[in-house]
Symmetry: D2
Subunit: 367 residues, 4 copies
């Protein structure tokens, strides 16, 4: 069985690849083992955030030059998931997910295992609809198999990169006599994230197959996955899926656990997630325990009701600062205050990922 | 001895005075008892934040019409302290400080008492310099006397509204052959806040009189007050000072306590402040205790080092969102996650108010 | 016949009413003659722009106190149209429209005349639909009669303040078994502006009655009015209409003319509008002519195609600055560079008001 | 004598190098002839604008791969001048400056010639001071010689990329017992731009050598160059200088001319610059003439007086949108409305480059 590695590296700017370069140079990480690059970049996290493209390009150049292959090949083999927005105390960084060929014994304790899968390419008219939900669910199961994870309850985080609709893609559907879920590019991101999340929910038995429908996507918010984290990007037409869970016999020294924040200030859920990997916290994590934490992953969104704990918030009416920016600042501050570290991964846009205004939170820690 | 009242009221917009109007109508509060109006308004909290002026005007109109006096008289008799910026979960609201003539016995337990004082008007060349520090220190002592607070350690929050330099004021000094601390209006706000905070520190024995000097203001950051909260406004040339502390025999059913956040994610300090008024917290405040809390008051600023807990933050380099906005989002999220309520008072700009990147945090609660 | 007065006054802040106060004090303007207050205030012009409410409140307080009547009565009798956003060189100001009882002779040359009318209150389900279009058209004709304007071609600017849908209003319709045009508050502003503009177009014969339908509103962009300028506000449920045109025998010394900007940089249209009131311009207005200009009124929007003159613009993808802010900066700069004065009125959101990406531009000048 | 080529290419994103790649592929431009890449990128143009770094990196990768050399060598041989900010109608693009070895006859008419020079590296304490002014002046003369331009009046645009002070650089000076002009990184950019511009002014006889001093830099604003365009970057310690002018016998089919905008809405200056290359304009450029224009280059800044043509502007008090963003939106709109094309180069920050609130404007056109 393969061995998962998860390494968090600080970045001094969106083009900074020096940390990973050093790991390669020192032999601590083999360039060919890299499965995924998950970055928190310092743009606005919204439409015109080019820090995501910059970081992707910089890491593709590094990997291509190091491995002596084309950038196109790197793009095919490695998943690049970029989440823009380091509001508040959030600290720009990249998390490298890697997997070495061997290691582990089938009889050992459950440890972190990472599985990867892709869906087929979607047609524009499938994006944000049931075809996407079902195909994503299938691929999530395939990624579980790839990871050697048997039970749904051993899956703790499913990171998905999904496509969106551009005007060209919508036009292509229209020419073939098909309609799309929305012609608004920005809105299509939400539908794609939502359908992908419901695919996770379906695969893991979190949502009732009988209740998921085209109409329910981005509408029936009580349908939720507690472990899905999805983000839409323009550069692909399929879903790239990274399943993280614990598997018996995985050769890693890491474990993963999760909980669900019921709202943006739900510190108890963060403590529950930490507790699930054996880090018990009253107020803040003790120094000794802090060293065990590799990273925390969470989704954030402004509560669509306009209220948090019965108090009016102003995030949805703010025409100067996008509400996702506010939400990331809040959730990251809550997590940082508990783990004592602002270099965590908090991403915006949480359709069907936890309850409205809340979202999944997962922890990877040394066992 | 007089009885302090502190009432927190939600606002639906910067012009919403309906809550206070209802309190007057119901007889729960006598209009003439109002000492100060401390609001958290939903603007950007920076230079062009007109929500502060709007709220001030709206409350002045209400009080003037209710009491049948001119708006000018209201402006002279009531302190209006407006802090703009409700980033993240912060919920717009106003805190009304009032004081009724009688109540309390000299022999009772220590309870919240509020004292008010003004400095003389400053000359432009005195703003942000030692003349301001000394005169503010004198007025803080006067406000303590007004509140019947004997000991420095019984003072837990000193809210000061201080002046700033406009180009006209700087020019006036220049014509008289005097120079001012800075000709930059925005910078002068920091100097004025800093000198006022050092005045508090001097009055309460927090800073060594021998070390405070013109050069030390906004430079020697280890000189700090743990209870000062100062904000600069264009509409006055003196300092308006509200001292909050506990006094034996005060007739209020409220108490106040405080602590100092060492950085923006210092949840432990928030728990210490709560503990100091008898609310003991592990993670978050219990529901029963939550009802005791009247409001939490804190200062926030982006750590000037560019780092929080050794991690690079991006607040100081963000040209889209002012760093004070980021800082308020963070500190309010941390406090809200602990007290379970986002309607708290967090204000930006913390020169000499707690350590760099941190700031005072105070709690008023029912005894 | 009554005499129209149009006076432009600089504002030093959203609460500054000193200019109008002076006009009253000097007797140059009678408080009771004020028909409308049209302001360009220095907020963001988007959802959380409270400078509009602040200015409205400040002028209502001034007028109520001056005339010795309630603020409610002022709100009923005077139209307050607030346009937020003074991007680029735009200079905050208010334009006061007034009308004195007498003056003019039926035989004189055509001069500026101002007419006012209101529609009935709309039901929520009527907003943004044909009921609104027809009722607005009727009221525009009534305002023309009020102004003594006979021909459609003598109408050069129709300023309308129209309602929007809040969640309460949508809910009210739903309870009565009716659906609304959209449940999105922000979107409802566009539908209301669009339907009001089509009402103007219908009244003036600019659009073919047979082609206007519920489906065409905010969809068939070739249906346009060349003189409509509409803005939505939360404080009313009907439309307030101010028609400006030239009428024979009007006693004013002012005239009005207009043209239509085909895109945001269409300087020629600005020159045509100036030419229509007898100010002929090659590059920029000559000093002597500049003194004749009272104000220029224009609508601005980011070209929805994503292109201006075949060049990609980035306004629609900018998540830091709202596209209406960009558009106002551009159109006002073009106008200011031609008239040599940045204190002009440029308002955003131009549905069915001129062509996509363009908009009406009108000039009021001394004859 | 060498032949100058200037090619403007639209960009679809900060990483888009496809246009230049096509030019190389078609043989229209030889990769080795590229002297400078001057881009207008779609970031905020302020501190955290990473579109500049992204575009630089993308073009360096393209040139390095095309020429088969290292990126470091490309960085040494080609000047990359990135100006962020495409506010309003500004359209993202790159202008490629190239020079082929031969062409032209000494007896021909004056045509565009481009000269390049570098200063020596500066010590931190020299940045923003007279040492920088003098060394820059020397290098400007050297670049004139390189271009074969004899007279100062034949120089029409001098683009300079200059260094700035980081905290490390200031600390280095301090350790050697030297002080720097400012320890504020953002402010040091202004000093460096200002000193570089005065270097141009000195070289071209625009400013009196006797009046330029350390104290005058960024203080005596009447000292100006009418052709300097300077921008500061962190990646160098010297100045890279590109002189553009007309030289007898230059083999190009291009000419250059300039004027100076007295303020941000000075359309007449734009017309003068066009007139200086033989394009005579009343209102807007005629279609036939439009095709002659290769690009327009201008500097923009918010008038530091707070007024434009006697009207208050709000750019300097806007804490949501940086004043340089407003200024670029205005100047580009004015230029675009005259030349009928929004794909022009307008850059912010104009210390000693034209008068306060104004700036140089240059035109390169086909002869």
């Amino acid at each position: 069985m393969s061995t998962a590695q998860v390494i968090r590296i600080a970045m001094s700017s969106p083009g900074d690849v020096s940390g990973l370069k050093s790991l390669f140079a020192s032999g601590r990480l083999a360039p060919g083992d890299v499965l995924a690059v998950l970055a928190k970049t310092e743009g606005n996290g919204c439409v015109n955030d080019y820090t995501r493209g910059y970081t992707t390009f910089a890491y593709q150049v590094l990997l291509a030059e190091t491995l002596g292959v084309s950038r196109e090949e790197i793009a095919r083999k490695v998943a690049f998931v970029m989440s823009g927005g380091t509001e508040g105390v959030l600290s720009p960084h990249v998390t490298i997910f890697a997997r070495a060929g061997a290691g582990g014994t089938a009889s050992g304790p459950k440890r972190l295992s990472i599985g990867v899968a892709h869906t087929r390419d979607f047609l524009p008219e499938e994006i944000g609809r049931m075809a996407m939900v079902h195909e994503t669910a299938r691929a999530v199961r395939a990624a579980m198999t790839d990871a050697g994870i048997d039970g749904e309850r051993d899956v703790h985080f499913v990171q998905i990169k999904c496509p969106l609709l551009t005007s060209e893609r919508s036009e292509d559907a229209r020419k073939r006599g098909r309609d799309v879920v929305t012609t608004d590019t920005y809105e299509s991101m939400g539908y794609s994230r939502g359908a992908s999340a419901l695919g996770v929910g379906l695969a893991l038995g979190e949502v009732d197959a009988g209740r998921v429908s085209d109409d329910a996507i981005c509408s029936e918010w009580q349908l939720q996955s507690a472990v899905a984290s999805t983000s839409a990007g323009v550069e692909l037409m399929n879903c790239e899926i990274i399943v993280m869970g614990n598997a018996a016999g995985a050769g890693s020294d890491l474990v993963i656990g999760h909980s669900v924040m019921r709202d943006a200030i739900d510190g108890e859920a963060v403590r529950e997630a930490l507790g699930s990997v054996g880090i018990h916290v009253n107020g803040s994590v003790r120094t000794a325990d802090a060293e065990r934490i590799v990273n925390v992953f969470a989704k954030a969104e402004a509560d669509p009701s306009g209220y948090v704990r019965g108090r009016r918030h102003t995030m949805l009416n703010d025409s100067d600062i996008n509400n996702t920016r506010h939400a990331r600042a809040v959730v990251s501050a809550v997590i940082a205050s508990i783990v004592g570290d602002p270099m965590v991964y908090v991403s915006g846009g949480a359709e069907h990922q936890g309850p409205p205004g809340g979202g999944p939170v997962a922890v990877i820690a040394r066992a």
